[in-house]
């Protein structure tokens, strides 16, 4: 099927986001039922169709949320042993402290559901679905700074340069729609203006080919850089320009017989459709109120976490 037509038929917000853009705070999706491109190295039929990955950079500590640590209460006030907190691991924030006492959580913990999942009182809603959750508590890092820790989370190494998880998913599952970003990253504008930086390399491809890296949907300005026509240029004019471009480029393609020109023509058409579709796609006005309510009061505020979650859905 003509990829452009394919794209066109799929360009409703839900189908686009759900099946091909698959957007999340970090999301990778694929179209595994379409014409096979990666079929040759698929030996087991994958069941996962898409991955939505929410990375909460910052926020309350796990010991205040879901990691029950009764021992801390018993040893309240004792110095943290250097086996846990080596002397040389001091951050800019904490290196001035004279003492590093053990401090337990201030919140009450209780067990929930048939599984007896420990959760603190700060998570009452989660407590109601405790048996629906798989909680992995064995992950740890000895990085004590934000950037190395975030880099470890996304790439498996504290030293930047390795592919991000999304890039691996994209590489492994692939997308059979070659014309759309199959891995989209969105950063949320938090309430803390001076948040920790989330750099593009957190969804980068590392040593994998660049096409596997995430495409960033921005929370400020154009959702995709340079998405909109310059001021004063109408859509009719843009269409006319593209028709001429296509004509002029096709003439050269005939002359040089280089398939790269045809690819470029197709990408221009795609860009044109994205100009129309992406604004539609991020327009939530057709969402039922019940859905908006479920996502909370910030669901319609561009760049907010709730908004990004709704888009990812």
């Amino acid at each position: 099927m003509d990829p452009i037509k394919q794209f066109e038929t799929r360009m409703t917000r839900r189908s686009l986001l759900g099946s091909s853009l698959g957007l999340g705070s970090i999301a990778a999706g694929s179209l595994l039922n379409e014409a096979p491109v990666f079929a040759d190295f698929r030996t087991v039929a994958p069941k996962a169709k898409r991955v939505i990955y929410l990375f909460q950079s910052g926020g309350p500590s796990q010991m205040d949320l879901y990691d029950y640590k009764p021992e801390l209460a018993k040893r309240y006030g004792e110095e943290v042993p250097t086996s846990v907190y080596p002397a040389e691991r001091k951050t800019t924030m904490t290196s001035g402290q004279a003492s590093f006492p053990v401090a337990p959580t201030r919140f009450k913990f209780a067990r929930h559901g048939q599984s007896g999942l420990w959760l603190s009182e700060t998570l009452p809603h989660l407590a109601g679905v405790a048996d629906e959750i798989c909680m992995i508590k064995s992950m740890y890092t000895d990085a004590i700074n934000h950037d190395p820790a975030a880099t470890l989370f996304q790439t498996g190494s504290v030293i930047p340069g390795r592919p991000s998880m999304g890039a691996w998913v994209n590489y492994g599952l692939g997308s059979e729609n070659e014309n759309l970003p199959s891995f989209v990253a969105m950063t949320s504008n938090g309430s803390a203006k001076q948040g920790q930086p989330l750099y593009d390399r957190l969804w980068g491809a590392g040593f994998l080919p660049g096409r596997y890296q995430g495409v960033k949907f921005r929370g400020q300005g154009d959702p995709i850089l340079d998405l909109y026509n310059p001021e004063g240029v109408s859509r009719v004019q843009r269409r006319r320009m593209l028709d001429s471009l296509q004509q002029l480029n096709s003439d050269r393609a005939d002359q040089f017989n280089d398939p790269a020109i045809a690819t470029r023509i197709a990408q221009y058409e795609l860009a044109y459709r994205m100009q129309m579709s992406v604004p539609d796609l991020i327009d939530l006005s057709d969402e039922p109120q019940s859905v908006l309510d479920a996502y909370g009061p910030q669901a319609t505020k561009v760049g907010k976490y709730a908004y990004n979650c709704l888009l990812a859905r």
Binding site: S95, G204, F207, L208, N229, E231, G232, S244, D251, A253
Partner: protein
Amino acid sequence: MHQDDSIQKRQCCPRNRNFAGPASSVSTPSSSSYRSGRTKLGNMLRLILTCLSVLVPFATTVRAEDPDFARDVRPILSDACYHCHGPDEDAREAGLRLDDRNAVFESGILEQELLERLTSEDPDLRMPPPDSNRTIDADDRTKLIRWLQSGAKWPQDDRHWAFIPPVRPSPPMVSGEWIRNPIDQFVLARLVDEGLAPSERADRVTLLRRVSLDLTGLPPSPDEVEVFLSDTSPDAYERAVDRLLASPRYGEHMALDWLEASRFADTDGYQNDRYRHMWVWRDWLIQTLNRNMPFDRFVIEQMAGDLLPDRDFMTQVATGFHRNHRINSEGGSIPDEWIVEYVADRVETTGTLFLGLTFNCSRCHDHKYDPIAQNDFYRLFAFFNNIAEAGLGPNNGNSPPFVPVPKSWPDLSDQERDFVEPEPVKIKVVQTSVPRPQPGGPETVMVLHELATPRETFRLIRGQYDQPDKTKLLSPGTPPVLGGWNAEWRTDRLGLAKWLVSNENPLTARVTVNRYWQHFFGLGLVKTSENFGVQGEFPSHPRLLDWLATEFIRTDWDVKAMHRLIVTSATYRQSSVVSSTLADKDPQNRLLARGPRKRLSPFAIRDAVLDASGLLSRRIGGPSVKPYMPPGIWSSVSNNKYKRDQGESLYRRSMYTYWRRTLPPPTMMSFNAAARETCTVRKELTTTPLQALTMMNNITFIEAARHLARRVLEEHPSDLRSQIGAAFHYVTTREATSTEIELLVADYEAYLDDFRSHPKRASQLLQIGDSKFKTVRNPNQLAAMALIANTLFNLDEAITEN
């Protein structure tokens, strides 16, 4: 950590063996090559081929039925077997290694067992086993079986081809008018072998555009085209090449590949990604390339300019090369851990850039494919483990060692050229007690400088800084498999640099000329220009590669001469039109039966647009500049604000654009610039809708469009067709056809009507960008012409070298 072969090569970049497959022996070419040739060329070829049938004994080619060990067999063994039966002792299964001739012969496996293992249907016997995640496809399996059946010839000297120093081959005995220099003899011999003929010569304008973009990164001006076209002497092209090689733009353009390989940037690269000041090193690079410093000296100065007997301030600046790596300055980081990172980065950069080897694999374990032991990595590491540096950066500014740059830079007095002793690291406890070194301000540049007492180097278990294998102190040394070490050299960086550029080094010259080839043809003779190891690609033209490498050494590493040799070859001058035969047989142009056709670099794309508009600043060198950037591009993800420049700085060449490693310029990145985190010598080229959006809508491109519009309106005040024709020429370097002109005239008129009905839109469009027009007499015409310019900038041809 640029290329992890075990992943990239095996699955997503399978080695292209199509053209390294068994070559047919030279026979009289079939008539098909005549038929595909055009008449004139056909006659010429007939002449060549007649000569060939007489002179042919260059056939050292292998007969189709005999797979060659180095070319055909080892790549398969490497891909499918070495992971478990290779150099890495810890990963070795059944005590069997297939990378060592003696071990293989001792095992006796070649007599019967290997054949059984390849042909058996029993999953317990058949190799590779299913759980290895390795496969041998049917063709390769057949090749191995044929090799075994033909006597399993495993040469006595079975070193990987790239580890044997190149021996200068004689160019094949082909002749004919087509041939202009020995490059063409190698290329033509191969084409004849394949039953193909070269393409005709590119037309003169196309060729001038191609060579101007390749040598200077800018298209030729209309004047330069006119001078060239009116020069009818036989060496007009050579003279144009010499003019371009002498242009100061040459050094700027050639510096770009080196900036990406040297991971040059304006920031440190980690957490807060603080600022550093290394533009003086970039200035040095541009000057040095323009002055055509011999490549061996170029390497020695950058690797060890601080250790030379004739060292001075300039050779010191050169060593900034190995300070361009990222530096961490975040509190809480452990200095010893980061010093290991910096030193490892130098080893890996040296490995990739000069030796074409992926040393990073052997940082944690013996290399899986190449005979590089983990100890070899740490013996190289020992060369670089003596720098008087700090593990944590100063958190803004240069990290020691650095030296002050005289205010008069780059016009230094003799006295200012003297070597300067950098002050030692002075750790101060600042802020809330994070220990940091003294920072160097914008008037300094980072350099290499040795510690009085070298650090001790041990093998690091799994590459971990805190797990040295203290049983053995390692001295500096080069990998034994590469040979070529001269016992008279000191075992320091200077010795290492001399070894890199010695005649006995098997790799540096090959790797370097291959990168030049990649620059001019888009793909190297070895496509994996970052990896000449066992997992790298076998060269498409092995003897041409060796001839070029030995020629480079013979000419005392004369870089401009090598570039001149390549661009004056008939091979380079061919038309890039792809015949349907070639489109099928050789889509990537590995056989070189046509000229290169390639997309411009991200830097050249922006520069060409600024150039056509007349906005481009011609100033060379100096600190980096901050042109337009999307709003909030820094502040949306970090605490820093991008304060963009004004005036001329918006229109400098793209190589001067401020490079923040964690947030590199998005326009450059969408056109596949290297991120400058680690050494990068080869980039994937993609074509994406984001590129189209940039070209159509980005402020730089729109501002340039309105300036190009005004330029042609002023130059041809009364004639619309001349205006459009001139704009077309500025962008594509060629005359538009009448069809093209008429199409654009119709567009112009439609746009003009639009703007007449909506004059506000015209003025909106004409406001985009900082540079304002003082007076605009016909805003509607100007806006309509700006859209024509916008169309032209978006042509495939505008960003392509044909």
